[in-house]
């Protein structure tokens, strides 16, 4: 299955360059977003400078929910399906979940920062924050299962099931929380404040923000994947040692095995 040679590089030289390119592109796009967002675009009528958070909060939220979760769920399905099963999908799933946790936490933080001056509280149970908080708990559940010591196959199985159960839950959560809020009078006012009208240079900056964070996600995913491969190689070499010790049980002076030859 996986190579036991510790000197094997996780991927080819060409892939290394692609990943580096991704990192550079992400850095550039982020820099561009920050520059445009902080200096070039105008402040909003109502929210003044606070509106600049719109260039990062929705993109981060989008990455967390659709990209990270989508990749995790899709990889889990591909792992579970016998015909496409391969350790690649398991590694990809755990990488997506870990990076997703970072992005989800950032979504909550930026959402909270945005809400504080507007609503006066650090947290409000609006639709997006509530769903995102639940998403974070689901992702943390995945990592909790991942930490349980088990052989790689069992661990991958359990993780994949958790990812699928959670993935199926996410749209249901969204639906129900949204309904909850459209029925609640107060929420519509809160939501309106967080969705400013976007035009002109703001639209371009927002688009750049989406691109920037998508690139950042892809780069972090690749790096995390590499960490996973290296960690597996480490475990494999530990296994080699354990196997040798096990074989050593069979050689050398033996006491009477099981008393059968007494």
């Amino acid at each position: 299955m996986s190579s036991t040679d510790p000197a094997v590089a996780p991927w080819s030289a060409r892939a290394t360059w692609i990943v580096r390119g991704l990192g550079i592109a992400a850095a550039l796009a982020l820099a561009g977003t920050i520059w445009l967002g902080l200096w070039v675009t105008p402040p909003d009528q109502v929210q003044h400078n606070l509106v600049r958070l719109v260039y990062i909060h929705p993109p981060i939220a989008w990455v967390a929910l659709y990209l990270a979760f989508g990749v995790a769920a899709g990889s889990s399905v591909l792992w579970l399906w016998p015909r496409t099963r391969s350790r690649f999908w398991d590694r990809l799933a755990v990488s997506a979940v870990e990076v997703g946790i970072v992005f989800t936490a950032l979504t909550l933080v930026t959402g909270s920062i945005w809400g504080r001056p507007t609503w006066g509280v650090w947290w409000a149970w609006d639709a997006r924050l509530t769903s995102t908080a639940l998403l974070l708990l689901l992702l943390l559940g995945y990592m909790a299962v991942r930490r349980v010591p088990a052989d790689p196959d069992s661990r991958a199985r359990r993780s994949a099931v958790v990812a699928l159960v959670a993935a199926v839950d996410v749209p249901i959560v969204h639906f129900s929380v949204d309904w909850w809020h459209t029925l609640h009078q107060g929420a519509t006012v809160l939501n309106a404040n967080l969705s400013p009208t976007i035009h002109g240079s703001m639209a371009w900056t927002l688009l750049l923000g989406f691109v920037a964070f998508t690139l950042l996600f892809a780069w972090m995913l690749a790096i995390r994947y590499r960490v996973e491969v290296l960690s597996e190689q480490l475990q494999d070499s530990a296994l080699e040692v354990a196997l040798r010790e096990r074989w050593a049980e069979g050689k050398g002076p033996l006491t009477d095995p099981g008393g059968a030859l007494a």
Binding site: W247, G250, P257
Partner: protein, 240 residues
Amino acid sequence: MAPAVHLSTAVCVTGRFPALAGVDLAVAQGEVVVLEGPNGAGKTSVLRVCAGLLPLTGGEGTVLGCDLRHDAPALRRRVGMLGHAAALYDDLTVVENVRFAVRAAGGSLSNVDAVLDRLELGGRVRRTPVGRLSAGQRRRVALAVLVARRPELWLLDEPHAGLDADARVVLGEIVAEVVAQGATVLLASHEPEESWPLADRVVSLVGGRVVEVRHVGATARRPVPPPDTLRAVSGSVHVA
């Protein structure tokens, strides 16, 4: 004839520990093979691998024609295992436990009563919840479950442990009958080979590998597999 069990360089890693470190084993249909070895040698692991319970980390295995990597669930109805711990429901009576197991395996209930009587589990004991039985009786119930299911491959882990002398005799008779009907028996034991008059071969395991295979003079009418299907692992043959 295709072997009932064929393991080739089977490696099995549970957690961080390699329970099996390269096992080669071939058991022909109708054979009785005894696995012996010190504690921790991997005897139970071999049985569990053959039951499809323990996945192979490396190497290959085929049991009753099913590839262990892909078809393990298909094996379950055809294989019966008597393990260390009896998988019985304490709150159900003896007969309920046996009936459940038989129906779960898709068998017929017609011989349940006969089996229970043979193992001295008839009469009032039948209707006693398993949790209230003694350890020896529980072991008999586990054995009854196995016998009533009539599997093609029998995997017995220390079957003599926990059984009194009478039950051991009955077990010996039962094994003789099912082998005559074509079942294959693989058992792990600490007992000396005299306890297993029906054994065809004794396979010694140490450190997760086969170190020796001995023919122990089974009755001539049962075919002995040709030597090239048996392979002791090179380099570490233990001389008795």
